[in-house]
């Protein structure tokens, strides 16, 4: 999970590793992800979003590609 100066650089990074470029995320989108995951993390009752919630969270900020679907990410 890295920052990149541009889409061109993402493509170069992926080409160098022979991997497929993934959906790009803008900084406003990343901030919304950060607030959703972490704004209450220091509080006792906070918890990590569950898979069913995660899909909705990503979709609400325009990230609806299957890449963002936690699928079988089951836990606790």
């Amino acid at each position: 999970m890295l920052f990149f100066r541009s889409e061109e650089r993402v493509r170069a990074w992926c080409a160098a590793r022979n991997v497929t470029p993934r959906p790009l995320v803008t900084m406003p989108q990343l901030w919304k992800m950060s607030v959703t995951w972490y704004s209450t993390r220091l509080e006792g009752e906070s918890r990590r979003p569950q898979p069913g919630e995660i899909r909705g969270i990503f979709a609400s900020i325009g990230l609806d590609d299957p890449f963002w679907d936690p699928l079988s990410d089951t836990f606790g």
Binding site: M1, L2, F3, F4, R5, S6, E7, R9, V10, A12, W13, C14, A16, V19, P21, R22, L24, V25, T26, M27, P28, Q29, L30, W31, M33, S34, V35, W37, Y38, S39, R41, L42, E43, G44, E45, R47, R48, I54, F58, P66, F67, W68, D69, P70, L71, S72, D73, F75, G76
Partner: protein, 148 residues
């Protein structure tokens, strides 16, 4: 082990990171919770199962308490004069979000190493064309969180 002790240990771990920017040792957690070594270890294991912590193989050294990193990283965040290490680009903004104060993120371009610095207010980062890219699909993030 109890859910109540899990919460006490979780809050102790996160408050220690927030206050010091360093991972807590067992003694630090004991000082904040009053729990003994065995109960703290059990709570850490439970928090790992809940995907709130990542532990080293010894079962008690904290590698990650997302968004905080227990080891130095390239993703540095300054808030209130304290320098934190974040686990990744997402967590760099996450440190600011978790502390609910303005901060400054310093990192780099994954491809070229060009320095990246951005001010992040309580309402979010200043405008920028820089992007975030994640290689690993969401369903596999915790399969190898350090790689992710």
């Amino acid at each position: 082990m109890s859910a109540e002790e899990d919460v006490r240990v979780k809050v102790a771990v996160y408050r220690h990171f927030a206050d010091t920017a360093r991972r807590p040792e067992i003694a630090d957690i004991a000082a904040r919770t009053g729990l003994d070594h065995g109960r703290i270890r059990a709570a850490l294991a439970s928090l790992r199962a809940q995907r709130l912590l990542l532990l080293e193989p010894d079962g008690e050294t904290i590698r990650m308490a997302p968004p905080f990193s227990g080891v130095p990283t390239v993703h540095q965040v300054e808030v209130n004069g304290i320098a934190y290490s974040a686990n990744c680009a997402w967590d760099a903004l996450g440190v600011v979000a978790s502390l609910q104060q303005a901060g400054r993120v310093r990192s780099e371009c994954g491809q070229t190493g060009e320095p990246f610095e951005i001010a992040v207010g309580r309402d979010g980062p200043e405008p920028t064309s820089w992007l975030f890219h994640c290689l690993v699909p969401a369903a596999q993030w915790w399969s190898d969180l350090v790689f992710t």
